[in-house]
Symmetry: C2
Subunit: 130 residues, 2 copies
Amino acid sequence: MTEAPRRQTRQRSAVLALLDDQDGFRTAQDLHALLRERGDAVGLATVYRALQALVDDGLVDVLRNEGEAAYRRCSPVHHHHLVCRSCGRTVEVADPPVERWAARVAAEHGFADVQHQLEVFGTCAACAAR
Amino acid sequence: MTEAPRRQTRQRSAVLALLDDQDGFRTAQDLHALLRERGDAVGLATVYRALQALVDDGLVDVLRNEGEAAYRRCSPVHHHHLVCRSCGRTVEVADPPVERWAARVAAEHGFADVQHQLEVFGTCAACAAR
DNA sequence: GATGCTCATGAGAATCATTCTCGCACAGGG
DNA sequence: CCCTGTGCGAGAATGATTCTCATGAGCATC
């Protein structure tokens, strides 16, 4: 079927490695700048392409926030995020009840093929202290 | 303090009236086009300004979806959305448990000033039939 | 190790939503 | 009716993301 032959290149490894070092969501532009500083010269367009591929493969999660998208290395199991709106630090959290709730509510209204997204924003202890 | 002296103009009324006629999320561009068709000539920039004002006043909810923001007339009480990803039809739903859950999880991780967003996407009965 | 077929890359242009600029119009209080 | 300041409109500006296309590099094969 739609086999996706994904080639392993220096640039993609660099993007993934960089994401592993981050502990919060980062925008594509940020990641690009960070790669430059690191010495890994990667084109901006390539960073976008690599991120899209990683999202498709489920290795990275996206967060669309006013105008720009932020990316983060994530575990492949279903989960939600607790994000610091100041520093971007993120904690993965699970909430089994909400899964059932979403399915039930959707069914009640005749919706099928259900998907949901839940994000919690706040100020982490470190940022609140400042 | 920060009093917001909001003037009532033909354009703002038109935007709000149009939103009342829609039963799903619509992008700013869509709303602008619809106003034109209707005969209400309103500048694109004005549509954006009116929408921002309405969001600030809590009369309208925003949904950021790949690239463009969508707006919808909403009740002022806290709620979540069940959105048809095909036709955009939307149902407002409430889930008290998730409110408590969000607060508890945030507290456990030392996060303060908590806020959360939860949206459920699916295909409504009408669209699934097609 | 060389060869070839593709897909990936990179620089800059192109696209698209959104915001800004600024001169003019109008809402609303006096 | 007049004044003042806010809102409007058209087009330019901004900024993120995507596209184009010629060149470079995986990876399988010989």
